[in-house]
């Protein structure tokens, strides 16, 4: 690892000011991605500003049924908050299906949203990679891309967004709260994640020195009956090939509300709006589910090695909806 400096900040204003004034500085939270990538030479900060002492670890139930998750709350702690488990099971499930117990104890919620892609060409610090070194090319395009994205990709980058909980938060229209040199702002989660387009190096709209302070999840009664399904190459401790965050309301056999987001297939956590639109008002049947899944995946742009994800994603959507609408299901 290259030499670096370190400072521990006691309050947000200090942390923000210290990062903002040095272009080569970065916040340090759980460090599970950052320390790894600094060691690999992918990230090269000259100063790490440790924010772990900031009082941003709370998880609160909001009046009206929403949820406010402090940016430094740890994945393991959020997953077991009673209000999360009861009212937003998809969040708890997504958290517990991610990483390992040790990593979940370390990783913060804000850091989870900022985690970098797992593309091996990005991480090796030497291959052509437009995300790491803009303009250098994309080694994954014609390289090993079995795990890569099939939705939202561009000619510059096909890396998949690796987060699980971000998929659940995307389904629930979460809002990312930040504070930076220019003040505070709130960013809808779908706008927080940027598609690669021609600027794959830019993954979110945060300015240098802008700190995530909290993630708010609006009240959503539909989420009480929600699920996160994850399909991967091994049973545990592995990133998704395909995952689905789903919630559905049914009245008199017809779908009256639905939330669907996909992981493991998108250049960002993928809200399946076409599928949602297709399902509203339709009968809760396998035929409706298949039609909706087909419409969402119709815009997929698979490469030779990840073409299997198209069918896998369709089936994952169908399974999640079948589970949620089966009257005998829990």
């Amino acid at each position: 690892m290259r030499p670096l400096s370190y400072v521990r900040a006691a309050d947000a204003d200090t942390a923000i000011a210290m990062v903002a004034e040095r272009p080569d500085s970065a916040f340090l939270a759980g460090g599970t991605t950052e320390v790894d990538l600094v060691r690999q030479g992918v990230l090269r900060p000259g100063l790490l500003v440790d924010i772990n002492d900031l009082p941003l670890t709370g998880v609160e139930d909001l009046p009206g049924g929403g949820l406010r998750i402090g940016a430094l709350a740890r994945m393991s702690d959020v997953a077991r908050v009673p209000g999360v488990v009861a009212r937003f099971p998809v969040i708890s499930q997504a958290l517990l299906l991610g990483a390992s117990a040790q990593l979940r104890n370390m990783a913060s919620m804000g850091g989870n949203l900022c985690q970098r892609v797992r593309c091996s060409y990005f991480r090796d610090a030497t291959s052509p990679c437009n995300k790491r070194e803009p303009g250098s090319g994309c080694a994954a395009m014609d390289g090993f891309h079995r795990g890569h994205a099939i939705l939202g990709t561009s000619g510059t980058c096909i890396a998949v967004h690796p987060s699980d909980v971000a998929v659940a938060l995307t389904a629930l229209d979460a809002v990312v709260h930040t504070r930076g040199p220019g003040g505070e702002r709130a960013i809808g989660i779908d706008d927080f994640f940027l598609l690669p387009g021609d600027t794959p190096e830019r993954e979110h709209p945060l300015e240098h020195g802008e700190l995530i302070t909290a993630i708010e999840v609006p009240a959503a009664s539909i989420a009480r009956r929600s699920v996160y399904l994850k399909f991967r190459d091994r049973e545990s401790y592995e990133f998704a090939l395909v995952s689905v965050a789903a919630a559905v309301d049914v009245a008199d056999g017809a779908i009256t509300g639905v939330r669907l987001a996909l992981g493991g297939v998108g250049a960002k956590p993928w809200r399946a709006r076409r599928a949602e639109h297709s399902l509203l008002g339709r009968p809760a049947t396998t035929a409706s589910f298949a039609d909706a899944a087909g419409q969402e995946l119709a815009m997929a742009t698979p490469r030779p090695m990840n073409a299997f994800k198209v069918e896998l994603a369709k089936r994952a959507i169908m399974r999640s909806l079948t589970m949620l609408t089966n009257e005998n299901a829990p």
Binding site: M1, R2, P3, L4, S5, Y6, V7, R8, A9, A10, D11, D13, T14, I16, A17, M18, L28, G31, T32, V35, D36, V38, R39, Q40, G46, L47, L48, D50, N52, S76, A99, S100, A101, Q102, L103, N105, M106, P181, E235, S236, Y237
Partner: protein
């Protein structure tokens, strides 16, 4: 922005400076650079070589230790970030040269072959029981998945964990 801030905190490094760690209830001072991981600080500077360096990238679990009683990966933790926190390693699991009951159970159940992952497995296993995630074998397997055993001693590791779970006073 708040204009009544105290003077900014001291920036440390990039050269070596004194880091004060509390490891296994002992306060230790060591001269390390901020880039030094907790794992390297334990192994190379404090001579606590029980925690193992398997992958050094957070994928194998061989370096599992506790910080403030929570199991974490020492390879992805910078030592300097542990100032003010309690670090526990396999050497501190059972004071006084005794074996912790989990260590004894690993021996009874032959829960290792080469032994390289074993300290991490045991630190994880004891934490697992404290967390209450050892209900059945499937739950044990899921919550131990962050500790890879390339000798595949998994059935015996689960047996050792079951033994401790089922014995009286299974808490740490």
């Amino acid at each position: 922005m708040n204009t009544e801030l105290a003077s900014p905190p001291t920036v440390r490094g990039p050269g070596a400076g004194t880091v004060v760690l509390t490891v296994n209830d002992q306060v230790r001072e060591l001269p390390v650079e901020p880039r030094v991981s907790l794992l390297d600080a334990l192994r190379e500077h404090l001579g606590l070589t029980g925690s193992k360096k398997g992958c050094d990238q957070g994928t194998c679990g061989a370096c599992t230790v506790w910080v403030d009683g929570r199991r974490v990966l020492a390879c992805l933790t910078l030592a300097v970030t542990c100032e003010g926190h309690e670090v526990t390693t396999i050497e501190g699991l059972a004071p006084g040269g005794e074996l912790h009951r989990m260590q004894a159970a690993f021996i009874d159940r032959d829960a290792f072959q080469c032994g390289y992952c074993t300290p991490g497995q045991i630190m994880s296993a004891v934490a697992l029981l404290a967390e209450g995630h050892a209900g059945d074998d499937a739950e044990i397997a899921e919550w131990m998945s962050g500790n890879i055993c390339r000798c595949a001693a998994y059935p015996n590791i689960r047996a050792a964990i079951r033994d401790v779970r089922d014995s009286a006073g299974a808490e740490r």
